[in-house]
C-alpha cells in the first residue's frame, strides 16, 4: 500500500518523511475560540482612548481582566476600554473610495486661510 508521509508547515517534520496514519486532515466546523474584544487605552488623564489591539475572552468581564495585563502592564495607563469587536461598525472595503476627496477644495482646508498676520496684528493692538 502506498502510504502518504506527513506534510507539515514545519520543514523538519516534512523532511523526516513520517508515515501519515490519517488519510485526511480532519475538518472542524466551528473554530474552538473565544470571541474578540477591541482594547482602547488612555495614556494621559483626560486624553483620548486610543485603539491598541484586541484580546480573546469568553465575555466582557474576562476581556477587561485580560486587557489590563496585555496592554497596561508596561508604561503608564490612566484608563482602558474594552468593546466587543462585533460592536464596531465600519465601511466595507468596496466603499473605502468614499474617503477619496477631490483636491480642488482649498476652502475646506485650514491651510487655505492665511490669518497669522492678522492674528499678530490683533495681538499687537491689544498690548
Amino acid at each position: 500500500m502506498n502510504q502518504k508521509t506527513i506534510h507539515s508547515l514545519d520543514p523538519r517534520i516534512t523532511r523526516a518523511q513520517i508515515l501519515s496514519d490519517v488519510d485526511e486532515v480532519p475538518q472542524y466546523e466551528v473554530l474552538e475560540q473565544f470571541i474578540t474584544f477591541e482594547v482602547f487605552q488612555q495614556q494621559k488623564s483626560g486624553g483620548h482612548h486610543i485603539h491598541v489591539g484586541s484580546v480573546h475572552a469568553p465575555n466582557i468581564e474576562m476581556a477587561l481582566l485580560f486587557a489590563k495585563e496585555q496592554y497596561g502592564r508596561r508604561g503608564k495607563s490612566t484608563g482602558m476600554w474594552v468593546v466587543p469587536t462585533n460592536a464596531v461598525v465600519t465601511f466595507s472595503d468596496d466603499d473605502l473610495d468614499m474617503f477619496e476627496t477631490t483636491p480642488e477644495k482649498k476652502y475646506r482646508e485650514v491651510g487655505a486661510y492665511m490669518v497669522r498676520k492678522r492674528v499678530e496684528q490683533y495681538k499687537k493692538e491689544q498690548k
Binding site: 473565544f34 484580546v55 480573546h56 475572552a57 469568553p58 465575555n59 468581564e61 474576562m62 481582566l65 485580560f66 489590563k68 495585563e69 496585555q70 502592564r73
Partner: protein
C-alpha cells in the same frame, strides 16, 4: 523596634513572594489561553519584585545582598509557608492557591500601611495597586468558574477549594515574634490577619456559589519554623541552577 522580629516578618513575606513567583512562573507558555498565560506570568513577575523589595529592606538591616539571600540558601533556611511550595498541579489548583494567597497578601499589605516600621509601610503603599489587580484577577476567575461556570467548572473549583483551604492556613502559622511585632505596632499579627482573611474568603467563595470545608487549621503548619514539604528543595535546586554556575557573574 525589635530588629529580629522585623527581620523574621520580612523573611516570611519575602520567601513567600519568591517561592510563589517561581511556582506561578512555571505556567509561562503553558497557560490555558494566551491572554491568561500573559496575565498569570505578569503577576508572577510582580511577586518577584515584591520579594526583591523585601530582601532589599533586609539588606539595609544588615542581611546579605538580595541575590545571595534568594539563591544561596537551602530549604532549612527558608521560612515560607507550605502553601507556596506545592507543585502547580492543574490550573484549578493554581488558581485557587493564587486566590487564597493573594487575598492574604492584599489584607496583609493593607494592614502594613499603618506599620510603625517605615520602610515596610512605604512599600505597602507602593505595591497596593499591583496587589489589587492580583485579587481582581483571582476573584474574577472564582466567579467565572463558580456561579457563572458550568457543572464541570463548579465541581473542579469546589474540589480545588477543598484541597487548598487547609493548606492556606499555613500562611498564618504564628512565629515566636508575634507579641513583639504587635507590641510596637509593626504588624497587627497573624491571628488578626487570619480573621479578616476568613471573612473575605468566605464572602467571595459563597458569593460564587461554592463552599468552604471544615478543616484543621494547624494541619500544614511548619513552614514558618523552617519545616517544609518535600517539594521545596527541588524547586530551589531548579531556581538556583543558573546563578550557581557563577555566583560572581555580573548580570
Amino acid at each position: 523596634m525589635n530588629t529580629e522580629a522585623v527581620k523574621n516578618l520580612l523573611y516570611r513575606m519575602a520567601d513567600d513572594a519568591l517561592i510563589i513567583a517561581h511556582r506561578n512562573s512555571e505556567w509561562t507558555g503553558l497557560g490555558p489561553i494566551l491572554e491568561e498565560d500573559i496575565a498569570f506570568s505578569s503577576i508572577a513577575q510582580d511577586k518577584l519584585g515584591h520579594a526583591l523589595a523585601l530582601y532589599t529592606i533586609l539588606n539595609e538591616l544588615g542581611e546579605a545582598e538580595p541575590d545571595i539571600i534568594a539563591f544561596t540558601r537551602n530549604e532549612k533556611d527558608f521560612c515560607c509557608s507550605q502553601l507556596v511550595e506545592y507543585p502547580i498541579g492543574e490550573y484549578d489548583f493554581s488558581l485557587v492557591r493564587h486566590f487564597m494567597f493573594d487575598t492574604a497578601e492584599k489584607l496583609r499589605y493593607e494592614l502594613l500601611q499603618q506599620s510603625t516600621f517605615e520602610p515596610i509601610a512605604k512599600l505597602a503603599k507602593k505595591v497596593s495597586g499591583e496587589i489589587k489587580y492580583h485579587t481582581f484577577h483571582a476573584d474574577t476567575w472564582i466567579f467565572q468558574l463558580g456561579s457563572k461556570g458550568n457543572e464541570e467548572s463548579k465541581a473542579r473549583m469546589q474540589s480545588a477549594i477543598n484541597e487548598v483551604y487547609p493548606i492556606a492556613f499555613s500562611i498564618f502559622e504564628p512565629s515566636s515574634f508575634e507579641d513583639s511585632l504587635i507590641a510596637d505596632a509593626t504588624f497587627v499579627g497573624e491571628v488578626e490577619l487570619q480573621k479578616r482573611w476568613v471573612e473575605r474568603i468566605t464572602s467571595i467563595v459563597e458569593g460564587a456559589g461554592l463552599k468552604l470545608p471544615t478543616i484543621d487549621v494547624t494541619s500544614h503548619y511548619g513552614g514558618r519554623n523552617k519545616f517544609h514539604t518535600e517539594h521545596l528543595q527541588p524547586l530551589l535546586d531548579e531556581m538556583t541552577v543558573v546563578f550557581l554556575l557563577d555566583p560572581s557573574a555580573e548580570w
